[in-house]
């Protein structure tokens, strides 16, 4: 295992490569205000980050990642377009034992904020990472969260159902449950049927949630109950999309074969991205495509996603990245900018380079 000095040296080497690629270095604080991270990630982040308290600044977290502070810095006073690089430690609580689970480790990353040509920016980041990692035999996988989102958006059903599905794209279990409910594969529970028939509690109203909020939801449930079930064909097409794994260069054909008309703009984007990757010297026949890539682990990515993984499945990915346009909207207080980037685990890279 690389020691801390070796990991730091590797992180510095990666930072140097990113700066040569035209990035400006950013150096976010290790102590980050907890509020923005909690608002973004919810309770999950409490399980993964170290929370501490500052008498004046309130609840703080030991930096669990760089992307959020880099986006915050850019949205506060960044010029456009911008390329940023960083290197430093991140801190993660670990609830499970194992050598691959580090509580603190070095990351080096590269991020592009650019409106002009998103697919070209996707390819630029991927090709830069691919070149830096070219001495290792890693398995590279790409995906695109925009495909599932487009397919959900294209369903012929109530907007509320589409919004609920889109909200849970990152939680496959709940997503499947909702699909089964909307398509009538699971029966309406007795309690729901009784509610729709007018059943109410005779106990006093307590709590902050108001009676009007309940009535509004019951009205939405009535509309849902009256709406036609999602056709089985739509559910099957959506599941086939989520399960699609193939060589990257054949992905557009496989996606078109699903015959989901709403996918066409997203497929066109994927094709532009594949062309840009090829133009950057990436061999597409050696690149995996996985339509669900990053679905349960890379929560803020909402478009292009990628990872580079070592053959040993116990190890975390050497590098991951993707597009996070929605994150800039959430942190931008009314402004937004397309953004894509990724990070490399410096210590893991040092380990692998030492071995190979």
């Amino acid at each position: 295992m690389a020691d801390k000095a070796q990991s730091r040296a590797m992180a510095a080497r990666l930072l140097d490569a990113f700066l040569r690629a035209g990035a400006v270095e950013v150096t976010p604080d290790i102590l980050q205000p907890a509020e923005a991270l909690l608002d973004l990630y919810g309770e999950d982040i409490r399980a993964r980050a170290y929370v501490t308290a500052d008498p004046l600044r309130g609840e703080m977290m030991l930096r669990p990642d760089f992307t959020v502070p880099v986006v915050q810095a850019h949205m506060a006073d960044g010029a456009e377009p911008a390329r940023y690089a960083y290197a430093g430690e991140v801190f993660r609580r670990q609830d499970h034992r194992g050598a691959a689970r580090s509580n603190e480790y070095f990351q080096a990353g590269f991020e592009i904020f650019d409106r002009a040509d998103p697919e070209a920016a996707d390819a630029e980041v991927f090709a830069l990472f691919s070149n830096i990692l070219s001495r290792l035999t890693l398995s590279a996988t790409i995906g695109d969260m925009g495909l599932l989102r487009a397919a959900v958006d294209g369903l012929d059903t109530l907007p509320e159902r589409k919004a609920a599905l889109a909200r849970h794209i990152w939680r496959p279990k709940r997503f499947q449950h909702l699909l089964a409910r909307y398509s009538g594969q699971i029966a309406v529970p007795k309690a729901r049927a009784e509610l729709l028939a007018g059943a109410r509690s005779d106990r006093p109203w307590i709590g902050l949630r108001q009676q009007g909020e309940m009535e509004a939801r019951i009205a939405a449930l009535q509309a849902d109950a009256a709406a036609p079930a999602l056709p089985a064909a739509s559910v099957n097409a959506l599941n086939a999309l989520a399960a699609l794994r193939c060589r990257a260069d054949s992905a557009p054909d496989h996606l078109r074969a699903l015959k989901i008309p709403a996918l066409e703009p997203a497929i066109a984007r994927l094709q532009r991205r594949l062309s840009a990757l090829a133009a950057n010297g990436i061999a597409l026949d050696n690149l995996h495509f996985d339509a669900s890539h990053g679905r349960s682990t890379m929560e803020y990515y909402d478009g292009f996603v990628f990872s580079f993984a070592a053959p040993d499945p116990v190890l975390p990915p050497v590098a991951i990245g993707g597009r996070y346009d929605a994150l800039t909207r959430q942190l931008g207080q009314g402004r937004e900018i397309p953004a894509v980037g990724g990070m490399i685990r410096a210590g893991l890279l040092a380990d692998l380079e030492g071995v190979l």
């Binding site: 999950d44 409490r46 909200r167 709590g207 909020e213």
Partner: protein
């Protein structure tokens, strides 16, 4: 000596003494009522350590005791990766309590986690913050809701009188242990139909981190006497 940690007071202690007594091992407090020292009769090489039930998970994890009796909820809550730190030797058939999620009974539109998730989403949009769930079982509740794919909630810490937090407007839902459900009903709450997080009972645990060198012989005899499956450790 094999150190056996047992709850130092109350019903949990009495039931534990009774459980061992039924298997021919007499545990008792030595000295006065207020002195936390104990004695073991009927088993060789075993000494009794009286501890607060809440501290027994930590003492097991540290290996300061070899065996310990406590609620399975406490072990799961207090120990990360609990089954890598302790082995469950025997559920003991008392100290039953269910860790459940409960919401106001007046919420006629909420029966299950699917409803809670949908209401949490609407609540956040309306009130500007995530739906608050009061509990002291942070790890168990967080793991459960994450595994179930429920979003837009937050935990607020409540170390007691948790059932009252909703009426006091400091939480919208609670996750707490209940045995009869009386307190929930008295506070106008109902349990979600699929909101059972863990069914707890008093359990005899063995510590993986304890020094077992030279204890194997006494342990094998003890395990046989208790009628347990020795292969478990």
């Amino acid at each position: 000596m094999i150190k056996l940690g047992v709850p130092s007071k109350g019903r949990l202690m009495e039931k534990t003494f009774e459980w061992f007594g039924n298997r021919g091992i007499t545990l008792k407090r030595s000295g006065s009522e207020r002195e936390y020292a104990g004695a073991v009769e009927g088993a060789e090489g075993v000494s009794l350590v009286l501890l607060s039930a809440g501290e027994i998970p930590r003492e097991l994890a540290a290996g300061r005791i070899h065996l310990g009796v406590t609620g399975s909820d406490l072990v799961r809550e207090k120990l990360a990766d609990w089954d890598s730190q302790v082995t469950s030797l025997a559920p003991m058939g008392f100290g039953y309590a269910d860790l459940i999620i409960a919401v106001p009974d007046c919420w006629a539109d909420v029966d299950c986690l699917e409803d809670l998730d949908a209401v949490a989403h609407r609540f956040r949009a309306t009130h500007g913050f995530r739906l608050r769930i009061a509990t002291k079982y942070h790890r168990l509740v967080r793991d459960f809701l994450t595994r179930q794919g429920v979003a837009d909630w937050q935990l607020v810490d409540s170390q007691g009188a948790t059932e009252g937090t909703i009426a006091n407007l400091t939480a919208e839902a609670i996750a707490d242990i209940t045995s009869s459900g009386e307190t929930l009903r008295a506070n106008h709450l109902k349990i979600l139909s699929d909101g059972l997080i863990h069914q707890s009972q008093a359990t005899l645990f063995a510590a993986r981190a304890a020094d077992w060198t030279g204890q194997q012989g006494d342990f094998a005899v003890l395990v046989h006497q208790l009628g347990l499956d020795a292969a478990k450790l």
